[in-house]
């Protein structure tokens, strides 16, 4: 394909005048930005809060009924829909005769989650939402990113949730042992040795994604 190059006038071909125009432009930018610091697009995060877009998807939460019980009926729709296999649900019988099942364990591996929102769309009960504005999902170890039902129902922010957990186990106050790498599965007689990696029996590679 032949692209016609624009015809330059004499002064443009001389280059000098065009360079001066460029210099004037860049200097204008300096003056504008030095004297208009507050109008600059830079956000001094984290000191300045940055507002999230209205339709953003942040960390999940589980919604509750008016009596405080979780809306989730452990139908496994979200777990099935999840492309990253990051949701793990263990169901149990509900004490309420009108409801068949409730979740005994509802865990989300936030490190694995791709924040696609399919779980929210799949949920028939409006039990899971991604509207917490909580985007600072930061921890130092892999298993710390696995959040359980209690946090998903009542937790405010992931960072606050992490702060006490980072160094010590929540129940005993003991320092947590270094994490086991899930890729280094130990084999015995052709079968992997089953080693639960979270109190609820979560295994990272259980689904063989």
């Amino acid at each position: 394909m032949k692209i016609a190059s624009p015809k330059l006038s004499f002064w443009e071909r001389l280059y000098i005048t065009e360079v001066w125009r460029g210099l004037a432009l860049t200097f204008g930018q300096i003056v504008k930005n030095v004297f208009g610091q507050s109008a600059m697009p830079t956000v001094q995060w984290p000191e300045e809060p940055k507002s999230l877009p209205v339709r953003h998807r942040s960390r999940h939460r589980l919604t509750q009924r008016e009596d405080g019980s979780p809306k989730c009926v452990a139908c496994m729709c979200c777990e099935t829909a999840c492309p990253a296999s990051c949701i793990h649900i263990v169901a149990e019988e509900s004490p309420n005769p009108g409801i068949e099942k409730v979740a005994k364990v509802f865990e989300i591996d936030l490190l694995r989650c791709v924040f696609c929102g399919y779980c929210v769309e799949a949920c028939p009960e409006d039990a899971i939402r991604m509207d917490t504005d909580d985007v600072l999902i930061v921890a130092t170890r892999r298993e710390d990113f696995i959040v359980g039902m209690d946090f998903l129902l009542h937790g405010k922010s992931f960072l606050e949730h992490q702060a006490p957990r980072a160094a010590r186990a929540p129940s005993t106050g003991e320092p947590i042992a270094p994490p086991v790498d899930p890729d280094e599965t130990e084999w015995e007689d052709g079968k992997p040795i089953e080693r639960p990696q979270s109190p609820a029996g979560w295994r990272t590679s259980s689904k063989g994604v």
Binding site: L23, T26, Q29, N33, M40
Partner: protein
């Protein structure tokens, strides 16, 4: 004059002028980061701080130096060790040596003592500059070839071709000036530029030789390997002649780049923008009116702090709203500094007013003001280099050669010819 006094004066001049050059390096790095940021609607470095004092990002330079000092100093096994190790020192040495002949104030005359304000004052200063500057290509070639790396070799070859091509224009553009002044002595050239043109314009060479000025600035940018002529480095294609260097050896190259900018800015200042000449104030008039000049300088210092004080107060409020750590005291620190500057400048003005400037004081004041003027001009032209870099895109290699050989070289020769004709005509008219 005793030899010890002579030695002391020489050492003093050397420390002063190289101190200026080397301390301008971090300031230029800061300029580069901050100016490029503001040109692109960014804020630039503003995080590193010492006790909350960030100096608008200057502290980042200290962090850089710390990092470069503690990095592992790698010498690859296959390099030509002698040239590899020699190259950074050559590059740095050349730029420091060129600066030696730049006059930074008028010759200081204290009764029987005459002190030329140059570290080294040969009567062929222009030739010295070209002689030493042409050695600059050796550092680049040593680095490019000695590193035994294809990319650095490519950078080195490009650099050689470019530097040799543009050195021609660089030399030829100054020939016109040499013809006009009839001297190769830099201080003499600067003295000549102190007269007035048509009674109102300082007789700077930029007004007498505008074409030579443009050619000189362009080729001196090419000589310092700066954008739009930074093909030897070309970080997006080949990274360039210093690709194998790490730690402080790389830092020497990095510093040499900015030291070269200072040298180039000093050359532009000296040759075309009147060097240390204060516009409309010749050395004699400066000495005669030393007292009002000194009061003017100190008064403008006081005025500056008066203007900046309210801004600092306003800034303090913003900081206290934003930060909870040490940074919130920064504006208060600057308020104190500015207040001290105001008080100091006013006290100095009062002191000067009460005193009668006797002895050598007027001469020293004149030299100091000229030195200040020189540094101001150098800083401006150093900024100009950075300004150009972030405005103009890099030339392609064939464009570079076309511009150098077909555009600028004929122009430089034509300029010499025209200058010669004009000088002959003026000579004939005078007779």
């Amino acid at each position: 004059m005793s030899p010890w006094l002579d030695l002391g004066i020489s050492a003093g001049r050397a420390v002063l002028i190289w101190g200026v050059q080397l301390s301008l390096v971090p300031i230029l790095i800061w300029f580069e980061r901050k100016a490029s940021a503001y040109m692109q609607d960014r804020t630039g470095p503003n995080r590193a701080h010492i006790l909350g004092i960030r100096l608008a990002g200057v502290i980042h330079n200290i962090a850089d130096v710390m990092k470069l000092f503690f990095k592992e100093d790698i010498t690859p096994t296959m390099v030509h060790k002698f040239y590899y190790l020699l190259a950074p020192f050559v590059v740095m040495m050349i730029s420091l040596m060129t600066f030696a002949v730049i006059p930074f104030a008028d010759t200081l005359r204290l009764d029987d003592l005459t002190i030329p304000m140059q570290v080294f004052s040969p009567n062929a200063g222009v030739l010295w500059i070209f002689a030493i500057a042409s050695y600059g290509v050796f550092g680049v070639i040593f680095a490019g070839w000695g590193a035994n790396n294809k990319f650095s070799l490519l950078g080195g070859i490009r650099a050689t071709a470019q530097l040799i091509s543009y050195e021609l224009t660089l030399g030829l553009s100054v020939v016109g000036l040499v013809m006009m002044h009839g001297s190769l002595e830099l201080n003499r050239m600067v003295e000549d530029q102190g007269r007035l043109l048509f009674g109102f314009l300082p007789m700077w060479n930029v007004f007498l030789q505008p074409v030579a000025c443009v050619l000189f600035i362009t080729s001196v940018i090419a000589e310092t390997n700066r954008n739009p002529f930074d093909l030897p480095e070309a970080e997006s294609e080949i990274v360039g002649y210093h690709v194998e260097y790490s730690s402080m050896k790389f830092a020497l190259f990095f510093m040499a780049e900015y030291a070269n900018i200072v040298v180039a800015a000093a050359l532009i200042t000296t040759l075309f923008f009147g060097g240390w000449q204060v516009p409309f104030l010749s050395t004699d008039r400066l000495i005669e009116h030393a007292k009002p000049v000194l009061i003017g300088v100190l008064g403008s210092l006081a005025l500056l702090s008066l203007v900046l004080l309210p801004a600092a107060r306003k800034w303090s409020k913003t900081l206290k709203r934003l930060y909870t750590d040490a940074r919130k005291v920064e504006a208060d620190f600057w308020t104190v500094v500015l207040a001290l500057q105001l008080v100091g400048a006013l006290a100095a003005v009062a002191f000067v007013l009460s005193q009668d400037l006797g002895g050598f004081a007027p001469q020293i004041v004149a030299a100091a003001v000229q030195f200040l003027m020189f540094v101001t001009k150098v800083v401006f032209f150093s900024f100009f280099f950075i300004w150009i870099r972030w405005t103009v895109p890099r030339f392609r290699y064939d464009q570079l050669m076309n511009l150098g050989w077909k555009g600028m070289l004929p122009l430089a020769i034509a300029n010499i010819f025209v200058t010669g004709v004009v000088l002959l005509v003026i000579d004939a008219l005078k007779r």
